[in-house]
Amino acid sequence: MDITPGQAYGFFTDTSVCIGCKACEVACKEWNMLDGNEPAFGDGYDNTGSLDAQNWRHVQFIDNVPDKPMTVGQGKAWLMMSDVCKHCQHASCMEVCPTGALIRTEFDSVYIQPDVCNGCRNCISACPYGVIEQDEHTKVAQKCTLCYDRLQGGLEPACAKACPTQSIMFGPVIELREKAQKRVEALHAQGVPEARLYGADDDVYGGLNAFFLLMDEPEAYQLPSKANAVLPSRNNERGYLTLLVTGVLAALGGLIALRRRREPSPEPAMAGPAPAAPAPAAPTPAEASSAPAAERS
C-alpha cells in the first residue's frame, strides 16, 4: 500500500470478527517499545484493563454470558473489541492542550509530541474515550500515534499488520468507510441487525479516523453515544459568561457594601490606641438615613 502524506489514514475495526487474540496489543508494544503493566486479571479474560500510557491498543472483553441457559443461537456470550485512539476530526484533546504538543500530522492523525508536552494532563481530562494517560517514566501524555514513524516509512501500523482476522483494517479513511458500509449491509442481510457503525460519519466528533463496527450500543463498549459525544469547548462561553456576571455583581455589590456608613467609635473599654487613619468621610444624609441601627451580631 502506498502511504501518501496529505491523505487521511485510519483504522476500521470490525468487532464482529475480533477473536480477542491480543496480537494487536503485543505488536503495538513490540514496535513502540512499551513495557506494559503487570497483568491484572479481573473476572474476565482482560488482563490489561484499559487504554493507558502502556496500552495503546486494548482488547475489551465484554461479558454478555446470560445468567440462564439459552437456546442455540440466542446467546451472545462475548463482545470483543480492539480499542484504540479514535484520531477524532474534532479532537477534545487538541482543543484543551495549552502547549501545542498535540498536533494533526500529515496523515490526519492526532499525535502527541513527547518533547513539547509538559505533562499538564489537561488532555487527559478532555479525552472522552479515556485514551490518554501520563507515562510514569517519561512523565508526558502518551497514546496511540497511528504508528507515525511507520507511516513515514511507508509501513502500515503494527496492530493492523498483526491482526490475524482482519478485524483491524488500515487504509485511507475514505476507502475504509466504503468497506465499512458494505460490511454492515452484508451483516444486516445475514440477519444481524444489531451491527452498526460508530464514527464512520460525522455524527461523533466530526468523524473518527479510527472507527468501528459494533455489535451493540456504543455504551456497551465504553463509547459515548452521539448525544454524549460533546466537546470540552461547549462550556467555554457559558463558563466565562458566568464568571463575568459574577465579577460584575461582586464588584458592584462590593462597592455598595464598602460605602462608609455612620459607624460609631469603639466603646472606650474596648478601644485600643486611637486609630491613625483619616476619619471616614461624613455620610451623606441619604447614607445616614440608610444606615442600619445596628449590625447583625
Partner: protein, 309 residues
C-alpha cells in the same frame, strides 16, 4: 446547548490533586484580595490601610501559584511551554483563547505584573516617615489598580472554567464553577483582609465594610452553589459530587458559609447594651471566623476537584 441529559462519561481522571487544590485556593485569594483592595481604594480613602493589607495578601498568595503549578507538571522544567510553542517549524509565543489553561497561564503573567507593582507601591509607601504615608494613589494609580482588578477577578475564577472545559463528570456537567470559585475566592479574601487588618494600627476601622462585603460575596456563593446543584441534577452527577465521602467536605464548606454569613464574632459588629454598634474586639478573636471561612473555601474546592476524579 442545554444541559446534558443522563450524561455518561468514559474519561480518565487527570489526577489533579493537592498542588492544584492549593493553587486554586491561592489563586482565589490572590485575585480576590487584589480586587477587594481596589474596591476599598475606590470607595473611601479611610480604607487605604486595609487596602494595603489586601495588596500584600495578593502578592504573597500569588508567589505560591507558579510554584504549585510547576510542581504539578509531569515535566516541571518545561513550565515555559505554556507560553512558548517549541513545535519544530512553529516556534514562538503560544496563546490559545479556546483553552482556559493557556489563557490562564498568560493571565497569571499579566496579573503578576499588577500584583507585583501594587505590592511595591504599598511597601514603599508604608516605609515613608512623612505624613503622606497614608495617602491613597493618584487617579492614574487607581486606574492601574482597576485594570489589575480585572486580571485578578479572572485569576480568581478562571480555574472553575478550566475544570468545566473538559469531559470530566461533575466538572463538565455544569457551567457555574467559574462564578462559584470567584465568589468563594472573594469571600475568603474579605475574611482574610478583615482579620489581618486588625494588625494594622489604622486598619480596624475598615472591618465593618469588609464584613458587609464578605457577607455579600458569600450570599453570591450560596446562589452559585444552588446553580451548581441545579445544573448537575439532569446529568445524574449530583450523587457523585455530594455523595460519600464528599459530603463531609461540603459540610465543612457550609460551616464556613454559616460562620461568615450568620456567625457572631470578633470581626462582626456587635450590639451593646446601649444599642450601640461596636466596631471590633480583638485580632486574636477575629482569627476564628476568618479561619472557618478559609477552610470552607478550601473544602469547597477539594469537594469539587476530588469528587470528579
Amino acid at each position: 446547548m442545554s444541559a446534558l441529559a443522563e450524561a455518561e462519561h468514559f474519561v480518565r481522571a487527570p489526577d489533579w490533586t493537592w498542588y492544584i487544590l492549593f493553587y486554586f485556593f491561592l489563586a482565589g485569594l490572590s485575585g480576590g484580595s487584589y480586587a477587594i483592595a481596589t474596591l476599598m481604594r475606590l470607595s473611601n480613602r479611610a480604607y487605604e490601610p486595609a487596602a494595603r493589607v489586601g495588596y500584600y495578601i495578593s502578592f504573597v498568595a500569588l508567589l505560591g501559584c507558579p510554584v504549585l503549578l510547576t510542581l504539578d507538571l509531569g515535566q516541571p522544567l518545561r513550565f515555559w511551554h505554556m507560553l512558548v510553542n517549541t513545535t519544530p517549524g512553529d516556534e514562538g509565543p503560544i496563546f490559545r483563547y479556546w483553552s482556559p489553561m493557556s489563557v490562564g497561564a498568560w493571565a497569571l503573567v499579566v496579573f503578576s505584573v499588577f500584583a507585583g507593582l501594587s505590592f511595591l507601591e504599598v511597601f514603599v509607601k508604608d516605609r515613608r516617615r512623612s505624613s503622606d504615608r497614608a495617602e491613597p494613589p493618584s487617579a492614574l494609580g487607581k486606574a492601574f489598580n482597576v485594570v489589575g482588578t480585572v486580571a485578578g477577578l479572572f485569576i480568581a475564577g478562571y480555574t472553575g472554567v478550566l475544570l468545566a472545559v473538559s469531559n470530566q463528570p461533575v466538572w463538565s456537567d455544569t457551567w457555574a464553577l467559574g462564578g462559584l470559585f470567584l465568589a468563594s475566592g472573594l469571600s475568603g479574601s474579605a475574611a482574610l483582609i478583615g482579620w489581618l487588618a486588625h494588625y494594622r494600627r489604622d486598619g480596624e476601622s475598615s472591618v465593618p465594610g469588609l464584613v458587609r462585603s464578605e457577607r455579600l460575596f458569600q450570599v453570591l456563593e450560596v446562589l452559585l452553589i444552588a446553580v451548581f446543584v441545579v445544573t448537575l441534577i439532569p446529568t445524574g452527577a449530583l450523587g457523585q459530587a455530594f455523595g460519600y465521602p464528599w459530603f463531609v467536605l461540603w459540610a465543612v464548606a457550609a460551616i464556613g458559609l454559616i460562620a461568615g454569613i450568620f456567625g457572631p464574632g470578633s470581626t462582626r459588629n456587635e450590639i451593646t447594651s446601649g444599642g450601640v454598634v461596636a466596631v471590633r474586639r480583638s485580632a486574636a478573636a477575629a482569627i476564628v471566623p476568618a479561619t472557618l471561612v478559609l477552610i470552607g473555601i478550601l473544602a469547597l474546592r477539594a469537594a469539587i476537584i476530588f469528587s470528579a476524579q
